[in-house]
């Protein structure tokens, strides 16, 4: 059974992200949950999220990859510490570096699935690989470096 969404457990002061903040009324409200050994999110792009007609805008894909990777980093750290998501406030990571390879055009009109795994975790930073699938076909691949919230952002 999928667990709780990581984003439901970010501290309220850090839950305003446009991509995934539950407290941002205008945002995308991405939700990321453990499903087995992967952290998974699903998102239905809106008609305006167009690149060329019929295809999803790369900026949206980059945005989803970014937010999902931060949640996957938090979920990874929680699991490594022996906690399940929701047992404590989720650790809030920020993006140090975001890389997205656009493998093929992503069709608009189908739900996207994002599947993430931590690929490397140091003392502070966590590297996350994200596959973006449309109708089961991988259309983009993200490699993201997550870092703890810096003091200058309230961390």
């Amino acid at each position: 059974m999928p667990g709780e969404a990581v984003q439901h457990h970010y501290p309220a002061s850090y839950a305003h992200c446009y991509g995934c903040g539950r407290l941002n009324p205008d945002g995308l409200h991405l939700e990321s949950r453990w499903e087995g050994d992967e952290v998974v999110a699903r998102f239905q792009p809106r008609p305006e999220h167009t690149a060329m007609p019929g295809f999803v805008y790369g900026g949206l894909i980059a945005s989803l990859v970014d937010c999902h990777a931060m949640a996957a980093a938090a979920a990874h750290v929680e699991r490594e510490a022996g906690r399940v998501v929701g047992e404590a406030p989720a650790p809030r990571f920020v993006t140090a570096a975001l890389h997205v390879d656009f493998l093929r055009p992503t069709p608009l009109g189908v739900q996207l699935e994002l599947r993430a795994r931590a690929t490397d975790a140091g003392r502070r930073k966590v590297a996350v690989r994200v596959a973006v699938l449309a109708g089961g076909v991988e259309t983009a691949r993200g490699d993201v470096v997550a870092a703890p919230l810096p003091e200058s952002m309230g961390g």
Copy 2:
């Protein structure tokens, strides 16, 4: 004097991008113009484009970098061919790979400036470096590979 915006000269069939399409009523309408040897765009993030309170959402920065780099690739190819922007329909590139390093938090509430140069141009692909500045300080750096519109997207 800054030239015309590249995005004003994309063919109408390819002018619906959420980030920069003049024909997308819900989009961000980024406009990119030559200023000397750089292609420059300016954008005022909206209050909802939040990461943590007071800071710009990384997904927006990635989106602006992406669209601006595609325009800079088009502008570069035009200039190399001896044309000024607006003399002919602008060539429409798509993003093959997008990399953004988030150097420091980007404050919300100030206009962002994006400054781009082509760093490498092959027979088909163009590599573009984009600096993102807030109040004159570089807060993010993009390295983007632009490829010609593939046939599967109408190219």
